[in-house]
Structure formats: C-alpha cells, structure tokens
C-alpha cells in the first residue's frame, strides 16, 4: 500500500497536475476518484480530508496537502525520481512565473468557458432543490458563486468575452514562449510543462481558430511531445469522461 493518496477528479486542470507530476516522478499512489459532477468534493467524507472542499488533495503519511501547484512542488521536493525543477535559479523563477500566470490569469478564463460549456450543462438538468442544497454545502463562498453561475449559465456576456480575450492572448503568449526554448520555461521538462499541458491539451479542439498547425506550430508540437511521454499516457488513461478523451487529438498518427 502506497503512503500517498491522491483525491482527484479527471486528469484535467487542477486534478491532473499532481496526477501527472506523480507519474513523472514514478511515485505510486492510491487513487481516490472524486466525482466533481456528483459534488463528491463537498461531501462529509471528503471534507474530513480537506475542509475547504477543493480538489485535488493529497495525503502523504499523516500530512494533508492542498492546492495543485503547491502539491506539485511538494511532490518534486519530497520524492526521488527525475527532477521537475531545473537547478538554475533564473529557470526556476521563469517556471514559477508561468505557473502563476497560468493558475491565476489564464486558467480561470479557460475554466469559465469550460464550466459554461461542459460542467454547467452536465448538472443543470438535475432537481433544482437538490442542486441548491449541494451548493449550500460548499465551504468557500467564492466557490458557491462560481457553481451558481455555472449551473444557471449566468456568466455575463462581458465576463465570457473577457475570458475569450484572455484565452486568445494566452495562446499567443504560449506560442511565442515555446519558440524560445525546448520546453515552456526552460530547456528541461518541468512543472511548468506539467501545469501547461493540463491547461492546454484540448486547445486545438476547443479553440481551432486560434490554435492550429499553421498559427501555433510550437504549441501543437509541445502538446504532442508531452502526450508522447509514458507518464502522460498513463495519467490520461485514468480519465473517465469524454472531456478528457479529447486528448486523443494529440496522436501524431490517427488511430
């Protein structure tokens, strides 16, 4: 039995970050699937692990760790296996800069679009009273606001337009940055790539006008290169929803 247990949803966005980091490090873990669409993350069994009700969370022995990017850094520091942060301090700075930019500026825009297209419609048809009760169980007020908006489809036109604007800018920035070095923020495969893949793997499908082989060749090559890695294959094979199966678009030779 592994000392590590990961509570995660799909290999996608925040849940996928520690899943892929653990796989890259070769750390075996007990996988505890939290079905976000069934609000598992707000049920008492999970709140006993992480009272904030956010996913993912990881236990290592008697330690409980939360926040996906911080968990990844912990995984890299705590376990043997390939280093996912280079030694050079300036590379490390650049990796952290990109992870924060993605976590706080770009990913919320992607997820606003993703929630309104996928998460909201997936749960919306359920009994309204049941949904409201589920929302009331959410510990963090800002997550309650986000779920209400997703469920009722009430992101404003301005909010959606701003998210789409940021997605467009972000795709351009990634393309430009990936033209500079072998990987996203350094010449070594790092946490920035793990983070970025979770954010961007479906871009060619979800934003075909902005991201394709003509407009963003470096971005596409980067995604395909990461998808070729055994750890990525292994991680995405754990996905259950059609949403994450979209990763198949990154196959170089269509099956």
């Amino acid at each position: 039995m592994s000392q590590v247990t990961l509570y995660h949803w799909e290999p996608n966005a925040n849940s996928g970050k520690p899943m892929l980091a653990l796989a890259e490090k070769g750390v075996a873990f007990n996988s505890h699937y939290i079905d976000m669409l069934q609000f598992d993350q707000h049920k008492p069994e999970y709140l006993a692990v992480n009272p904030q009700g956010t996913i993912p969370a990881m236990t290592h022995g008697d330690r409980v760790l939360t926040e996906s990017t911080a968990i990844m850094e912990y995984v890299d520091n705590a376990f043997d296996g390939p280093e996912l942060m280079p030694a050079d301090p300036r590379d490390r700075w650049r990796i952290r800069w990109w992870m924060k930019f993605m976590d706080q500026w770009l990913a919320p825009s992607f997820s606003m679009i993703g929630w309104s297209m996928f998460v909201g419609p997936s749960v919306r048809q359920r009994d309204p009273a049941e949904l409201e009760a589920a929302i009331e169980r959410i510990p963090l007020p800002e997550r309650r606001v986000a779920w209400r908006k997703a469920i009722h489809g009430s992101f404003s036109a301005e909010e959606m337009a701003e998210s789409q604007r940021r997605v467009g800018i972000g795709i351009g920035m990634l393309e430009e940055e990936l033209a500079k070095r072998a990987w996203l923020a350094s010449d070594q495969y790092s946490l920035a790539d793990v983070n970025g893949f979770n954010l961007a793997y479906a871009i060619p499908l979800s934003q075909p006008e902005l991201s394709n082989d003509e407009k963003t060749p470096h971005l596409l090559e980067w995604l395909r290169k990461i998808y070729e890695r055994p750890a990525t294959r292994q991680t995405w094979a754990m996905g259950r929803t059609d949403m994450v199966k979209r990763v198949a678009i990154l196959e170089r030779e269509p099956a």
Binding site: R63, L65, T66, E67, T69, A70, I71, E73, Y74, N77, A78, P89, R90, R92, W93, R94, R96, W97, K100, F101, Q104, W105, P108, S109, M112, E142, V145, A146, E159, E162, R165, R166, M173, E176, E177
Partner: protein
C-alpha cells in the same frame, strides 16, 4: 554571475519584499528608484518583456538580469535566495509547501485587497489631478489591457462598495491568520524567518491606517510587525524611501479574483 539591476518603487508592497530580500541575501545589485504610480515601469527606460508586461502582480519591481526583465515579488525573492544559497525558504519539503501556500494565500487574497484599498486612498487623488494628456501617455505605454483598466478605474475612483467591503474583510482575515500562526509563541511565520514574513509584512504594513480594526487587539501580530521593522534588511529597505511615508505609496496592483 550576471550583474543585476533592481528597478523598484517606494518600499511598500512588492517593492518592499524584493528590496528586503535583496538585503537579506547580501547580493550586489544596482538600485534604480522609479515612480510606479507615474507609470515609469512602462517607460522606455526600464527593461520590459512578457514577464513584466503580463505580471499578475501589476505594478511591481523589475529585476533585470542577463537581458531578461523579471517580475513578481515572491518569485524574485526566491530567485535572490536561491542564487545566494537558500536561507529564506525552508528546506524540508512539507515546510516548503507551507511557505508556498502561505505566500499564495497572501498573493491571491491579501495583495489584491490591499492594492484595492491602498490605491483607493492614495493613488486616485494623485491620478485624478493628473492632466488627461499625461495620463493617456501612461495608458498608451501599458501593454496589458486588464492592467490598463485597473489604471482607468483607479483614476476614475471606480471602487465598487461590495469589493471594498470584501477587501476590508480580507485584510482582517490576513491579520487574524498571522495572529493565529504566532499563537505558539514563534517569532516568525514559518518558525525561521522566511519570504512569507516579507511578503505578508510588505502588503499589510500600509493597511494599519486604512483598516485599523484589523490590527485591534492583535498583540502577537503587532509584536511581529515591530520585529519586522527592526530587522536590518527591512530597515535597510525602508531607508530607500524618498517620500515621508512609503506606506502611502501604491500603484495599480493585482486584480480582484474575476470569479467573485
């Protein structure tokens, strides 16, 4: 080792973090004072690049190393620390995670709230008094559209009441968190002095006048603030001030979380 130049604002907020971190490491860097609230970070005289233009932090210091313009105070402090040989961050993986979580909470919750309140109190009058043409020149030099909007909102005094109330409560929570953390009698937030102390102090120091209720009855936090001010690196950073009270120096900072 590459030579470094630090372009910094008054020692408050992110500039305070990086100035003090630099002093902690003893590394040598040329210091260039700039007026962040006059948009000087975007003027041609300060190196820029994607990391400065799109920094989530907004108007913070810029560290130029080897032709690269670097930004974001916590990561600059980590860079300086790692370059000098790791004294400002725990080495144990779990303690390190705690410090990173602490800094992230500060960046995401305290910093946007402090920037909102600090700019509302101190930057709005200054920008409002600025001639339109001068302000437009600043706007034209800012690459990021959302940062530009924070500048126009600041000048127009566009600070919604709900966000003000929320920001005040985030400052109250931020100080409470420090008070609780110091409950076991420790001197510093992570046990040993760390970047978490610097970043927390840098954003909260200017809040004592604006949200005094946050500090009322918080004896441990008050003693920690005194220890911070007495620390040589912080004192050295505060000595860089060119204004009477650097705690009144703000410039458009990180945005309030778009999800609410």
């Amino acid at each position: 080792m590459a030579e470094m130049t630090l372009y910094h604002g008054e020692p408050n907020g992110p500039s305070l973090t990086v100035l003090a971190a630099l002093a902690e490491t003893g590394l040598d860097a040329e210091l260039v004072a700039i007026d962040l609230a006059a948009g000087e970070r975007h003027s041609g005289s300060v190196p820029h690049g994607v990391a400065t233009e799109m920094s989530v932090e907004g108007e913070g210091p810029v560290l130029a190393v080897g032709g690269e313009a670097m930004a974001d105070s916590v990561f600059l402090a980590q860079y300086l620390d790692e370059r000098a040989g790791a004294r400002l961050q725990p080495t144990d993986a779990h303690a390190r995670w705690e410090m990173e979580m602490w800094c992230r909470q500060t960046i995401e919750r305290v910093a946007p709230a402090a920037a909102f309140l600090g700019n509302r109190a101190h930057t709005t009058p200054r920008l409002a008094a600025m001639p339109d043409a001068e302000f437009d020149t600043i706007l034209d030099s800012i690459a990021s559209e959302d940062l530009r909007k924070r500048w126009t909102d600041t000048r127009a005094g566009n600070f919604p009441d709900a966000q003000e109330a929320d920001s005040r409560s985030k400052i109250v929570q931020g100080v409470e968190r420090i008070e609780t953390r110091l409950g076991d009698g420790r001197d510093w937030l992570m046990g040993d002095f760390s970047i978490a102390d610097l970043e927390s102090f840098a954003w909260l120091a200017g809040m004592e006048d604006i949200v005094p209720e946050a500090f009322e009855g918080k004896a441990r936090a008050a003693a920690w603030i005194e220890r911070m001010r007495a620390r040589p690196s912080v004192a050295q950073a505060l000595n860089q001030a060119t204004s009477d009270d650097p705690r009144q120096s703000w410039a458009p900072g990180p945005e309030i979380n778009r999800w609410g």
